[in-house]
Amino acid sequence: MHMADALISPIVGGTMLAASTGVAAYSIKKVQKDLDEKKVPFMGVMGAFVFSAQMINFSIPATGSSGHLGGGMLLAIMLGPYAGFLTMASILLIQALFFGDGGLLAYGCNVWNLGVYTCFLAYPLFLWVTKKGFNSKRIFWGAMVSSLIALQLGAFSVVLETLFSGKTELPFGVFVLLMQPIHLAIGVVEGIVTAVIATFVWKARPEVLEQTANGEPIGSLSIKRILVVILVAAVLIGGSLSWFASENPDGLEWSMEKTAGSTELETEDEIHQALSRIQDKIAILPDYGFSSTNEGDTKPEGVLSNERIGTSISGIVGGFLTLILAIFIGFLIRFFKKKRRVSLKK
């Protein structure tokens, strides 16, 4: 469920990057303050572990499908919230760079969706469930509940970020219905897997879990502080995003009008109705559209300007020319480089 660069707008990406950077800066401060330096290599190697554990698929009985570890919760449990968050951040950076999972612009979104919820909202839940001491049952339920919640929040964020970026036409309701149930299932798998590994570690090396749970100053006070931080961030983000969400379509229309030369100002709904009416018409009268092919510039009245959306004849012709030119230049450069190398060798 990594957000991709292509799905977000620069403003959403930038805002989320700023928010995540804030959390990261705070975590680094915390980690540096009360950290024995032993943790740095531990974080690094644990990050590598989560990365490789994600590759170990196991068969889910009776379903014919397979599952694997996601890792955010496990990192929090093993390393504590701050170190866990930073480790998640570096994993995501490597994934963005090497695998095209997510991307550099969407990096902030991904760190937020996969790091903040697990380490700062769900992990305290895990601590709460296991506060009377660890046993297999408490570890299981703690891991299960926190994984479910973290994944639901993460998935919901993906929905919001995508919608605010205005890159998809998927209605909010449908999108949510698509994402949340899938991530409920994924959350269950994640919970089980996290619980299995955490229990194993607790049995083999109890000190790892216990030190983390005791050593991290996520007391009641810190939880409050974290919640305040998250709340403030949420308000800020929500505010800027909703501003953007309300601004953006207008901006789009405005630019459409400008290029299309139409002065009529309509609300979104009106346009939509008008468009669907026209659409019906077009469906009945297929000839209607051919008028635009006669002349590059004439456009059917009432239909959105083809020019603007890049489908005018010159747009299409130009697009192809661009492609051909670009590739031609590419080959030309390679050709000359090769030639030069050959002559150099001689």
């Binding site: 292509a6 990365f51 554990a53 090497f98 998809t168 036409e169 489908t311």
Partner: protein, 269 residues
Amino acid sequence: MSKINNSLYNIRLLDDLAQKESVVHKLHPLIKLLTTLVYLIVVVSFEKYDISALLPLIFYPVLLFSISELPVIPILKRVLFAMPFIIGIGIWNPLFDTQIIIVAGIHIARGWLAFFSLVLKCIFTVTASILLIASTGMGPLSHALRMLKVPKIFILQLTLTYRYLSVLMEEVSKMMRAHSLRAPQQKGIHPAIWGCFCGQLILRTFDRAKRVYDAMSLRGFHGEYPAGNLVKPKVSDFVYFISWSVFFILIRIYNLSDLMGDLFIEVIK
């Protein structure tokens, strides 16, 4: 199994490519990072239905490919691996955005434009990111991050994660190989021993973390690592950055495809 080998191969490949010595490889890593960021922002800032205006941005990856002499096919393959999620979300556009428009005389739902534009953006952004790492490498990139004042502790941890990524993945792939040899008839790892399998791996991970820490502390590590001098970008680096940025912004403002198309039609007439 094949997935992990694939990932290992991918990391190895990009790492190998970063060792090449082209003009692009020699540029300052920070400059390349910033150029990539400007490119990404410009690509993503195009509106939903823009295709023709977006197309000229293809010059960036194409020129990078040819100047840096990076192999096209393997990198594009990586790009394809990143597509499914985008396609999964983008494919809903034609279903919900059914406004019909006419493109070259063909009636199609406007959503298709949005879909293709999204796919195009995805190809551009992912290609640009992979080209960045393939022409820079992880070491120099951490150098760039340090210049951006990213704290050293994060960079050290990033470096370690990256370093042990291939070590652990190799270990996993060998364990899975051993498993498949002694359970030849079975596909995947049985859930009953999966936990043990991962647990074993994590315990080894702990041990390794301890040994790595030991090795570091034997060489004087105390939580703070002075990572050497930073190299400043040269004038030519700035020229590279500025010329690309200007190009991107021009393309953002003027629809180059339209202009070229107009010109072409004029000439034909």
